[in-house]
Amino acid sequence: MEHIFFYIFALIIIVFALASVMSHKILRAVVYLLFSLLGVAALYFMMEYNFLGAVQMAVYAGGIIILFIFSVLLVHHIEGELEEPRFSRKVMMGLASLVGFGGVLYVILTHNFVTVEVPRTSTEVSDIGKGLLSYGDGGFILPFEVISILLLAAMIGAIIISKGKKNV
């Protein structure tokens, strides 16, 4: 049963990603990207990483997509059409992507991944929190603090850059 849902979500992710990459209307491309990211969140939920799925939905659907929509509305006409890339360019880049895809797929399918069968266990959020704030071996306290400083710096930088020069 679960593998049918996996294939449905995989189809949603791939189709909407393709639509987002190829759409001529820029606002539609953003909405297609939203559906693709929600499909990824569904995959996390299927793998029992509920916290990661919630983060994916909150940060991407709630934050980044809203940012994209605002910026599209600020810099484009709402029915704005994108300039069509040249046909030769599309063919060349499509071929390059296909060659890359084939190469990576070959490496993945010939490599023997040693998977472990375990009974389904849900990951507790408290485990993630303890690991992120632990000082001991395998603890992630330093990158956690560095990320918080990075977010603060990005926030201040975004405000200063987008404010622009004061026009008296």
């Binding site: 791939i14 793998m47 916290f51 998977t115 375990v118 930088g157």
Partner: protein, 105 residues
Amino acid sequence: MIANVSIYEILTLTTLLFFIGLYGFLTRKNLITMLMSIELLLNASVINFVVINKYMFPEMLQGVYFSIFIIAVAAAETALAISIIINLYRLKVSVDVNETETMKY
């Protein structure tokens, strides 16, 4: 792990997603749509971290931590890039890569 789905199928899905994003990044000329393609690339790599964590080392959580860090960096990067794009639009009244030839003024 997802019942009846092997790791190879999920890795194929993420590889496909990655190269769709790459195709978009190479063909688009609009800065906002290029940024959207980068989001697809980052998402594909995040799923890889999570899948390998779940299928090969299910008792550990390292892949989850790395995914959280990647998502945080992606959010910061998007906010900064969009502020730069809006500022660029003020200067050039266009967000095409062809129009942006100089770094400043």
